[in-house]
Protein backbone atom coordinates (compact mmCIF):
# COMPACT_ATOMS: atom_id res chain seq x y z
CA UNK A 1 0.00 0.00 0.00
CA UNK A 2 0.99 3.62 -0.45
CA UNK A 3 0.83 6.06 2.38
CA UNK A 4 1.26 9.74 3.07
CA UNK A 5 3.05 10.57 6.28
CA UNK A 6 3.02 13.91 8.00
CA UNK A 7 5.87 13.84 10.43
CA UNK A 8 7.06 16.36 12.99
CA UNK A 9 10.60 17.40 12.12
CA UNK A 10 12.64 19.47 14.50
CA UNK A 11 16.38 19.66 14.33
CA UNK A 12 17.06 20.09 18.01
CA UNK A 13 15.59 21.38 21.23
CA UNK A 14 16.53 24.97 20.46
CA UNK A 15 15.08 25.17 16.95
CA UNK A 16 11.46 25.29 16.00
CA UNK A 17 9.91 22.44 14.09
CA UNK A 18 7.26 21.73 11.52
CA UNK A 19 5.15 18.99 10.02
CA UNK A 20 6.75 17.59 6.88
CA UNK A 21 4.98 15.39 4.35
CA UNK A 22 6.51 12.21 2.96
CA UNK A 23 5.16 9.55 0.68
CA UNK A 24 6.07 5.93 1.21
CA UNK A 25 5.25 3.31 -1.35
CA UNK A 26 4.79 -0.42 -1.33
CA UNK A 27 4.36 -0.74 2.38
CA UNK A 28 3.78 -4.36 3.35
CA UNK A 29 0.94 -5.01 5.79
CA UNK A 30 3.29 -7.31 7.71
CA UNK A 31 5.63 -4.48 8.55
CA UNK A 32 5.59 -2.92 11.95
CA UNK A 33 5.10 0.82 12.10
CA UNK A 34 8.75 1.33 12.97
CA UNK A 35 9.86 -0.91 10.11
CA UNK A 36 7.85 1.30 7.82
CA UNK A 37 9.76 4.29 9.22
CA UNK A 38 13.01 2.33 8.75
CA UNK A 39 12.20 2.03 5.06
CA UNK A 40 11.57 5.76 4.85
CA UNK A 41 14.80 6.48 6.68
CA UNK A 42 16.90 4.23 4.45
CA UNK A 43 15.68 6.28 1.55
CA UNK A 44 16.28 9.59 3.28
CA UNK A 45 19.84 8.57 4.12
CA UNK A 46 20.58 7.60 0.54
CA UNK A 47 19.18 10.92 -0.58
CA UNK A 48 21.59 12.59 1.81
CA UNK A 49 18.71 13.84 3.96
CA UNK A 50 18.46 13.62 7.67
CA UNK A 51 16.59 10.46 8.64
CA UNK A 52 13.65 10.87 11.00
CA UNK A 53 14.94 10.38 14.53
CA UNK A 54 12.73 8.24 16.76
CA UNK A 55 13.40 6.28 19.92
CA UNK A 56 13.14 2.51 19.96
CA UNK A 57 15.10 -0.44 21.23
CA UNK A 58 13.54 -3.79 22.09
CA UNK A 59 10.85 -3.61 19.41
CA UNK A 60 8.78 -6.07 21.33
CA UNK A 61 6.76 -3.82 23.57
CA UNK A 62 8.63 -4.06 26.83
CA UNK A 63 11.48 -1.56 27.05
CA UNK A 64 9.22 1.48 26.79
CA UNK A 65 11.63 3.35 24.57
CA UNK A 66 9.36 3.82 21.56
CA UNK A 67 6.46 6.20 21.56
CA UNK A 68 4.81 8.19 18.82
CA UNK A 69 1.52 9.97 18.64
CA UNK A 70 -0.07 8.50 15.55
CA UNK A 71 -3.12 10.25 14.17
CA UNK A 72 -3.51 12.03 17.46
CA UNK A 73 -3.39 8.91 19.59
CA UNK A 74 -0.44 7.88 21.71
CA UNK A 75 0.96 4.59 20.33
CA UNK A 76 -1.75 4.59 17.67
CA UNK A 77 -5.29 3.39 17.80
CA UNK A 78 -4.74 -0.28 18.63
CA UNK A 79 -5.39 -0.83 22.30
CA UNK A 80 -2.74 -2.14 24.70
CA UNK A 81 -0.05 -1.75 22.09
CA UNK A 82 3.26 0.04 21.91
CA UNK A 83 4.26 1.80 18.72
CA UNK A 84 6.80 -0.91 17.94
CA UNK A 85 4.06 -3.55 18.09
CA UNK A 86 1.69 -1.65 15.88
CA UNK A 87 1.54 -3.27 12.46
CA UNK A 88 0.76 -1.72 9.14
CA UNK A 89 -2.20 -4.00 8.53
CA UNK A 90 -4.08 -1.55 10.76
CA UNK A 91 -3.87 0.99 7.94
CA UNK A 92 -5.19 1.06 4.41
CA UNK A 93 -3.87 2.15 1.09
CA UNK A 94 -3.94 5.90 0.63
CA UNK A 95 -4.11 6.73 4.32
CA UNK A 96 -2.67 9.98 5.54
CA UNK A 97 -0.94 9.40 8.85
CA UNK A 98 0.25 12.14 11.17
CA UNK A 99 3.18 11.28 13.41
CA UNK A 100 4.07 13.52 16.31
CA UNK A 101 6.25 13.29 19.39
CA UNK A 102 4.92 13.10 22.94
CA UNK A 103 3.85 16.65 23.75
CA UNK A 104 4.48 17.85 27.27
CA UNK A 105 6.63 20.59 28.73
CA UNK A 106 8.49 18.14 31.00
CA UNK A 107 9.24 16.02 27.89
CA UNK A 108 11.10 18.52 25.70
CA UNK A 109 11.75 17.44 22.14
CA UNK A 110 15.39 16.51 21.57
CA UNK A 111 15.05 15.93 17.88
CA UNK A 112 12.15 15.08 15.57
CA UNK A 113 10.17 12.45 17.44
CA UNK A 114 12.67 11.92 20.25
CA UNK A 115 11.81 13.47 23.59
CA UNK A 116 13.62 13.68 26.90
CA UNK A 117 11.82 11.58 29.50
CA UNK A 118 14.39 11.89 32.26
CA UNK A 119 11.70 13.50 34.43
CA UNK A 120 10.39 9.96 34.98
CA UNK A 121 13.75 8.84 36.31
CA UNK A 122 13.77 11.75 38.73
CA UNK A 123 10.33 10.83 39.99
CA UNK A 124 11.65 7.35 40.77
CA UNK A 125 14.72 8.88 42.41
CA UNK A 126 12.45 10.80 44.75
CA UNK A 127 11.19 7.61 46.34
CA UNK A 128 10.28 4.89 43.87
CA UNK A 129 12.25 2.18 45.62
CA UNK A 130 12.55 0.11 48.74
CA UNK A 131 15.76 0.89 50.61
CA UNK A 132 17.55 -2.40 50.89
CA UNK A 133 21.28 -2.56 50.24
CA UNK A 134 22.55 -5.71 48.55
CA UNK A 135 23.44 -8.41 51.00
CA UNK A 136 21.14 -7.39 53.81
CA UNK A 137 17.99 -9.19 52.77
CA UNK A 138 16.23 -11.80 54.92
CA UNK A 139 15.18 -15.13 53.41
CA UNK A 140 12.64 -14.66 50.66
CA UNK A 141 10.12 -16.78 52.53
CA UNK A 142 10.46 -14.84 55.77
CA UNK A 143 7.50 -12.64 54.82
CA UNK A 144 4.62 -14.34 53.03
CA UNK A 145 2.63 -12.09 50.70
CA UNK A 146 -1.01 -12.69 49.88
CA UNK A 147 -1.33 -13.88 46.33
CA UNK A 148 -3.90 -11.21 45.50
CA UNK A 149 -1.56 -8.50 46.76
CA UNK A 150 1.37 -9.93 44.84
CA UNK A 151 -0.72 -10.13 41.69
CA UNK A 152 -2.08 -6.61 42.04
CA UNK A 153 1.41 -5.30 42.75
CA UNK A 154 2.61 -7.07 39.65
CA UNK A 155 -0.14 -5.51 37.54
CA UNK A 156 0.99 -2.05 38.60
CA UNK A 157 4.65 -2.98 38.24
CA UNK A 158 4.25 -3.85 34.56
CA UNK A 159 4.47 -0.14 33.69
CA UNK A 160 7.14 0.27 31.01
CA UNK A 161 7.67 3.98 31.62
CA UNK A 162 6.99 4.92 28.01
CA UNK A 163 5.18 8.15 28.82
CA UNK A 164 2.08 7.52 26.72
CA UNK A 165 -0.05 8.40 29.75
CA UNK A 166 1.43 11.88 29.80
CA UNK A 167 1.15 12.23 26.04
CA UNK A 168 -2.52 11.31 26.06
CA UNK A 169 -3.59 13.21 29.15
CA UNK A 170 -5.35 16.48 28.31
CA UNK A 171 -3.67 17.90 31.41
CA UNK A 172 -0.24 16.47 30.64
CA UNK A 173 -0.29 14.70 33.98
CA UNK A 174 2.13 11.95 34.99
CA UNK A 175 -0.21 10.58 37.63
CA UNK A 176 -0.62 7.12 36.13
CA UNK A 177 3.12 6.57 35.90
CA UNK A 178 3.73 7.83 39.43
CA UNK A 179 0.75 6.00 40.85
CA UNK A 180 1.78 2.72 39.24
CA UNK A 181 5.04 2.70 41.18
CA UNK A 182 3.43 3.89 44.40
CA UNK A 183 0.85 1.15 44.07
CA UNK A 184 3.35 -1.55 43.22
CA UNK A 185 5.50 -0.86 46.25
CA UNK A 186 2.67 0.16 48.54
CA UNK A 187 0.84 -3.14 48.13
CA UNK A 188 3.75 -5.24 49.34
CA UNK A 189 4.68 -5.69 52.99
CA UNK A 190 8.28 -4.82 52.08
CA UNK A 191 7.12 -1.41 50.89
CA UNK A 192 5.23 -0.37 54.04
CA UNK A 193 7.91 1.43 56.06
CA UNK A 194 8.50 4.01 53.33
CA UNK A 195 4.95 4.16 52.05
CA UNK A 196 3.86 7.57 53.28
CA UNK A 197 7.11 9.38 52.54
CA UNK A 198 7.33 7.70 49.16
CA UNK A 199 3.96 9.00 47.99
CA UNK A 200 4.61 12.48 49.25
CA UNK A 201 8.08 12.72 47.73
CA UNK A 202 7.09 11.25 44.37
CA UNK A 203 4.02 13.47 43.98
CA UNK A 204 6.07 16.50 44.90
CA UNK A 205 8.68 15.63 42.32
CA UNK A 206 6.01 15.01 39.72
CA UNK A 207 4.68 18.52 40.33
CA UNK A 208 8.14 20.06 40.34
CA UNK A 209 8.86 18.57 36.94
CA UNK A 210 5.94 20.54 35.58
CA UNK A 211 3.43 17.82 34.84
CA UNK A 212 -0.23 18.76 34.96
CA UNK A 213 -2.73 17.68 37.59
CA UNK A 214 -5.01 14.71 37.21
CA UNK A 215 -8.70 15.20 36.54
CA UNK A 216 -9.45 11.51 36.22
CA UNK A 217 -10.24 11.62 32.53
CA UNK A 218 -9.03 8.05 32.03
CA UNK A 219 -7.27 8.90 28.77
CA UNK A 220 -4.03 7.55 30.25
CA UNK A 221 -5.33 4.06 30.97
CA UNK A 222 -6.97 3.94 27.58
CA UNK A 223 -3.66 4.30 25.75
CA UNK A 224 -1.45 2.52 28.30
CA UNK A 225 0.23 -0.40 26.54
CA UNK A 226 0.09 -2.35 29.78
CA UNK A 227 -3.40 -1.28 30.81
CA UNK A 228 -2.34 0.10 34.21
CA UNK A 229 -5.68 0.69 35.95
CA UNK A 230 -6.95 4.08 37.14
CA UNK A 231 -7.40 2.67 40.63
CA UNK A 232 -3.69 3.09 41.12
CA UNK A 233 -4.26 6.85 41.11
CA UNK A 234 -6.82 6.52 43.89
CA UNK A 235 -4.23 4.61 45.86
CA UNK A 236 -1.61 7.28 45.23
CA UNK A 237 -4.03 9.96 46.42
CA UNK A 238 -4.85 7.98 49.53
CA UNK A 239 -1.19 7.51 50.36
CA UNK A 240 -0.51 11.18 49.66
CA UNK A 241 -3.36 12.34 51.88
CA UNK A 242 -1.97 10.06 54.57
CA UNK A 243 -4.85 7.67 54.55
CA UNK A 244 -4.34 3.94 54.86
CA UNK A 245 -6.52 1.51 53.03
Amino acid sequence: MNLTLKIWRQHDAAKSGQMVTYHVEEVSPDMSFLEMLDVLNERLILDGDDPVAFDHDCREGICGMCGLVINGVAHGESRATTTCQLHMRQFSDGDVITVEPWRAAPFPVIKDLVVDRSAFDRIIQAGGFISVPAGSAPDAHAVPVKKEDADAAFDAATCIGCGACVAACPNGSASLFTAAKITHLGLLPQGQPERAVRAKAMVEQMDLEGFGGCTNTGECTAVCPKGIPLDTIARMNADFLGRRG
Binding site: S16, F211, T215, T217, R243
Partner: protein
Protein backbone atom coordinates in the same frame (compact mmCIF):
# COMPACT_ATOMS: atom_id res chain seq x y z
CA UNK B 1 9.17 13.64 -2.93
CA UNK B 2 9.84 15.56 0.24
CA UNK B 3 7.91 18.73 0.65
CA UNK B 4 7.35 21.01 3.55
CA UNK B 5 3.73 21.90 3.71
CA UNK B 6 2.82 23.41 7.01
CA UNK B 7 4.54 25.20 9.78
CA UNK B 8 3.99 24.20 13.34
CA UNK B 9 4.79 25.88 16.58
CA UNK B 10 8.18 25.64 18.16
CA UNK B 11 8.69 23.69 21.29
CA UNK B 12 9.13 25.88 24.28
CA UNK B 13 12.64 25.99 25.66
CA UNK B 14 13.20 23.80 28.66
CA UNK B 15 12.16 25.57 31.84
CA UNK B 16 14.02 24.38 34.92
CA UNK B 17 11.59 23.32 37.63
CA UNK B 18 11.27 25.76 40.53
CA UNK B 19 13.51 24.87 43.42
CA UNK B 20 10.90 25.47 46.09
CA UNK B 21 8.64 22.64 47.17
CA UNK B 22 5.03 23.55 46.58
CA UNK B 23 3.40 22.40 49.84
CA UNK B 24 -0.04 20.86 50.11
CA UNK B 25 -2.09 23.59 48.45
CA UNK B 26 0.51 24.07 45.78
CA UNK B 27 0.57 20.39 44.91
CA UNK B 28 -1.62 19.01 42.17
CA UNK B 29 -3.01 16.36 44.46
CA UNK B 30 -3.71 18.89 47.20
CA UNK B 31 -5.52 21.18 44.78
CA UNK B 32 -7.55 18.27 43.57
CA UNK B 33 -8.47 17.39 47.13
CA UNK B 34 -9.77 20.93 47.65
CA UNK B 35 -11.84 20.55 44.50
CA UNK B 36 -13.26 17.25 45.72
CA UNK B 37 -14.12 18.44 49.22
CA UNK B 38 -15.76 21.65 48.04
CA UNK B 39 -17.54 19.74 45.29
CA UNK B 40 -18.87 17.35 47.89
CA UNK B 41 -20.17 20.27 49.98
CA UNK B 42 -21.94 21.62 46.92
CA UNK B 43 -23.43 18.24 46.14
CA UNK B 44 -24.81 17.93 49.65
CA UNK B 45 -26.31 21.38 49.26
CA UNK B 46 -27.80 20.40 45.92
CA UNK B 47 -29.40 17.32 47.44
CA UNK B 48 -31.00 19.41 50.18
CA UNK B 49 -32.01 22.08 47.73
CA UNK B 50 -33.70 19.54 45.52
CA UNK B 51 -35.55 17.94 48.41
CA UNK B 52 -36.80 21.41 49.35
CA UNK B 53 -37.91 22.11 45.79
CA UNK B 54 -40.14 19.08 45.88
CA UNK B 55 -42.24 20.92 48.49
CA UNK B 56 -43.76 22.73 45.51
CA UNK B 57 -45.94 19.67 44.98
CA UNK B 58 -47.36 20.15 48.47
CA UNK B 59 -48.97 23.39 47.35
CA UNK B 60 -48.37 27.13 47.60
CA UNK B 61 -48.79 27.48 51.35
CA UNK B 62 -46.50 24.64 52.26
CA UNK B 63 -43.84 25.84 49.88
CA UNK B 64 -43.98 29.44 51.04
CA UNK B 65 -43.87 28.31 54.66
CA UNK B 66 -40.86 26.19 53.88
CA UNK B 67 -39.18 29.19 52.23
CA UNK B 68 -39.92 31.30 55.27
CA UNK B 69 -38.75 28.56 57.61
CA UNK B 70 -35.40 28.51 55.83
CA UNK B 71 -34.92 32.08 56.99
CA UNK B 72 -35.65 31.38 60.60
CA UNK B 73 -34.25 27.95 61.38
CA UNK B 74 -32.94 27.87 64.95
CA UNK B 75 -34.90 31.01 65.91
CA UNK B 76 -35.20 32.11 68.69
CA UNK B 77 -32.11 30.23 69.97
CA UNK B 78 -30.22 31.85 67.14
CA UNK B 79 -30.89 35.11 65.39
CA UNK B 80 -33.05 34.98 62.28
CA UNK B 81 -31.18 34.07 59.11
CA UNK B 82 -28.18 32.87 61.20
CA UNK B 83 -28.21 29.35 59.85
CA UNK B 84 -29.04 30.48 56.36
CA UNK B 85 -26.20 32.98 56.41
CA UNK B 86 -23.85 30.33 57.66
CA UNK B 87 -24.92 28.04 54.82
CA UNK B 88 -24.51 30.88 52.37
CA UNK B 89 -21.04 31.65 53.61
CA UNK B 90 -20.03 28.02 53.38
CA UNK B 91 -21.48 27.82 49.90
CA UNK B 92 -19.75 30.94 48.70
CA UNK B 93 -16.47 29.72 50.15
CA UNK B 94 -16.97 26.32 48.57
CA UNK B 95 -17.75 27.83 45.19
CA UNK B 96 -14.79 30.15 45.53
CA UNK B 97 -12.34 27.41 46.45
CA UNK B 98 -13.79 25.09 43.86
CA UNK B 99 -13.28 27.74 41.24
CA UNK B 100 -9.80 28.48 42.52
CA UNK B 101 -8.66 24.89 42.21
CA UNK B 102 -10.33 24.55 38.81
CA UNK B 103 -8.37 27.55 37.60
CA UNK B 104 -5.16 26.37 39.24
CA UNK B 105 -5.44 22.96 37.62
CA UNK B 106 -6.35 24.41 34.26
CA UNK B 107 -3.33 26.68 34.36
CA UNK B 108 -1.13 23.82 35.42
CA UNK B 109 -2.45 21.80 32.48
CA UNK B 110 -1.82 24.62 30.05
CA UNK B 111 1.76 24.93 31.27
CA UNK B 112 2.27 21.20 30.94
CA UNK B 113 1.31 21.19 27.27
CA UNK B 114 2.62 24.34 25.65
CA UNK B 115 2.55 22.81 22.17
CA UNK B 116 -0.66 21.17 21.06
CA UNK B 117 -1.03 18.20 18.77
CA UNK B 118 -1.48 18.95 15.11
CA UNK B 119 -3.98 16.17 14.79
CA UNK B 120 -6.54 15.97 17.58
CA UNK B 121 -8.47 12.88 18.19
CA UNK B 122 -11.65 12.14 20.01
CA UNK B 123 -11.37 10.71 23.46
CA UNK B 124 -9.79 7.29 23.77
CA UNK B 125 -11.41 6.77 27.12
CA UNK B 126 -14.82 7.09 25.51
CA UNK B 127 -15.89 9.89 27.81
CA UNK B 128 -16.95 13.24 26.42
CA UNK B 129 -18.26 14.28 29.81
CA UNK B 130 -14.89 14.52 31.48
CA UNK B 131 -13.69 16.92 28.85
CA UNK B 132 -16.44 19.44 29.47
CA UNK B 133 -15.88 19.79 33.19
CA UNK B 134 -14.34 23.20 32.88
CA UNK B 135 -16.83 24.65 30.38
CA UNK B 136 -19.63 22.85 32.15
CA UNK B 137 -18.55 24.37 35.42
CA UNK B 138 -18.48 27.81 33.87
CA UNK B 139 -21.97 27.34 32.45
CA UNK B 140 -23.17 26.32 35.89
CA UNK B 141 -21.56 29.37 37.44
CA UNK B 142 -23.32 31.69 35.00
CA UNK B 143 -26.54 29.86 35.57
CA UNK B 144 -26.23 30.18 39.34
CA UNK B 145 -26.03 33.95 38.96
CA UNK B 146 -29.11 34.03 36.78
CA UNK B 147 -30.83 31.61 39.13
CA UNK B 148 -30.16 33.87 42.12
CA UNK B 149 -31.42 36.92 40.23
CA UNK B 150 -34.47 34.97 39.14
CA UNK B 151 -35.72 33.12 42.15
CA UNK B 152 -33.79 34.47 45.12
CA UNK B 153 -33.84 38.19 44.43
CA UNK B 154 -36.64 38.02 41.91
CA UNK B 155 -35.24 40.85 39.79
CA UNK B 156 -35.07 38.65 36.73
CA UNK B 157 -38.40 37.02 37.44
CA UNK B 158 -41.64 37.80 35.55
CA UNK B 159 -43.49 38.01 38.86
CA UNK B 160 -40.91 40.40 40.30
CA UNK B 161 -39.21 40.64 43.70
CA UNK B 162 -42.44 41.35 45.55
CA UNK B 163 -44.16 38.06 44.73
CA UNK B 164 -44.12 35.03 47.01
CA UNK B 165 -41.52 32.40 46.25
CA UNK B 166 -44.21 30.04 44.99
CA UNK B 167 -45.63 32.64 42.68
CA UNK B 168 -42.22 33.34 41.28
CA UNK B 169 -41.65 29.67 40.55
CA UNK B 170 -44.95 29.33 38.76
CA UNK B 171 -44.62 32.61 36.92
CA UNK B 172 -41.18 31.71 35.60
CA UNK B 173 -41.60 28.16 34.49
CA UNK B 174 -44.80 28.87 32.60
CA UNK B 175 -42.53 30.30 29.94
CA UNK B 176 -40.97 27.56 27.86
CA UNK B 177 -37.72 29.49 27.48
CA UNK B 178 -37.21 29.80 31.21
CA UNK B 179 -37.79 26.09 31.59
CA UNK B 180 -35.43 25.45 28.72
CA UNK B 181 -32.65 27.46 30.33
CA UNK B 182 -33.16 25.62 33.60
CA UNK B 183 -33.22 22.30 31.77
CA UNK B 184 -29.97 22.97 30.01
CA UNK B 185 -28.34 24.11 33.20
CA UNK B 186 -29.58 21.24 35.31
CA UNK B 187 -28.55 18.70 32.70
CA UNK B 188 -25.17 20.35 32.71
CA UNK B 189 -25.04 19.96 36.47
CA UNK B 190 -25.97 16.30 36.01
CA UNK B 191 -23.18 15.75 33.52
CA UNK B 192 -20.75 17.60 35.77
CA UNK B 193 -21.67 15.34 38.62
CA UNK B 194 -21.71 12.17 36.58
CA UNK B 195 -17.96 12.52 36.37
CA UNK B 196 -17.46 14.75 39.39
CA UNK B 197 -19.02 12.47 41.96
CA UNK B 198 -16.88 9.50 41.07
CA UNK B 199 -13.89 11.72 40.49
CA UNK B 200 -14.18 13.13 43.99
CA UNK B 201 -14.00 9.66 45.49
CA UNK B 202 -11.00 8.86 43.34
CA UNK B 203 -9.31 12.13 44.28
CA UNK B 204 -9.75 11.44 47.96
CA UNK B 205 -8.34 7.96 47.47
CA UNK B 206 -11.67 6.24 47.98
CA UNK B 207 -12.00 5.08 44.42
CA UNK B 208 -11.20 1.42 44.83
CA UNK B 209 -14.48 0.12 43.45
CA UNK B 210 -14.41 2.16 40.32
CA UNK B 211 -17.19 0.47 38.39
CA UNK B 212 -19.62 0.63 41.31
CA UNK B 213 -18.77 4.23 42.08
CA UNK B 214 -19.16 5.25 38.48
CA UNK B 215 -22.53 3.56 38.30
CA UNK B 216 -23.50 5.21 41.59
CA UNK B 217 -22.47 8.61 40.22
CA UNK B 218 -24.69 8.12 37.20
CA UNK B 219 -27.67 7.17 39.39
CA UNK B 220 -27.25 10.04 41.82
CA UNK B 221 -26.82 12.62 39.10
CA UNK B 222 -29.79 11.27 37.19
CA UNK B 223 -31.80 11.42 40.42
CA UNK B 224 -30.78 15.02 41.01
CA UNK B 225 -31.59 16.02 37.45
CA UNK B 226 -35.00 14.34 37.61
CA UNK B 227 -35.75 15.89 40.98
CA UNK B 228 -34.78 19.38 39.94
CA UNK B 229 -36.56 19.21 36.61
CA UNK B 230 -39.77 17.79 38.02
CA UNK B 231 -40.83 21.21 39.30
CA UNK B 232 -40.37 23.33 36.16
CA UNK B 233 -41.98 20.68 33.96
CA UNK B 234 -44.87 20.23 36.36
CA UNK B 235 -45.44 23.97 36.05
CA UNK B 236 -45.01 23.95 32.29
CA UNK B 237 -47.58 21.23 31.70
CA UNK B 238 -49.90 22.80 34.26
CA UNK B 239 -49.79 20.16 37.00
CA UNK B 240 -48.54 22.82 39.36
CA UNK B 241 -50.17 26.17 38.99
Amino acid sequence: MTSIIERGAATRPIVPPPARKPGFFGSSTGQKAVMAVTGAVLVLFLAGHMAGNLKTFAGATAFNEYAAWLREVGYPALPKRAVLTLVEVVLVAAVGLHLWSAVALARRAARARPVRYARRRRSQAGGYVVHIMRWGGLTIALFVIYHLLDLTFGVANPAGPAATPYARVVAGFQHWYVTLVYTLAVVMVGLHLRHGLWSAFQTLGLGRHRKALQAGAVLVSAGLVAGFLSVPYAVLIGVVR
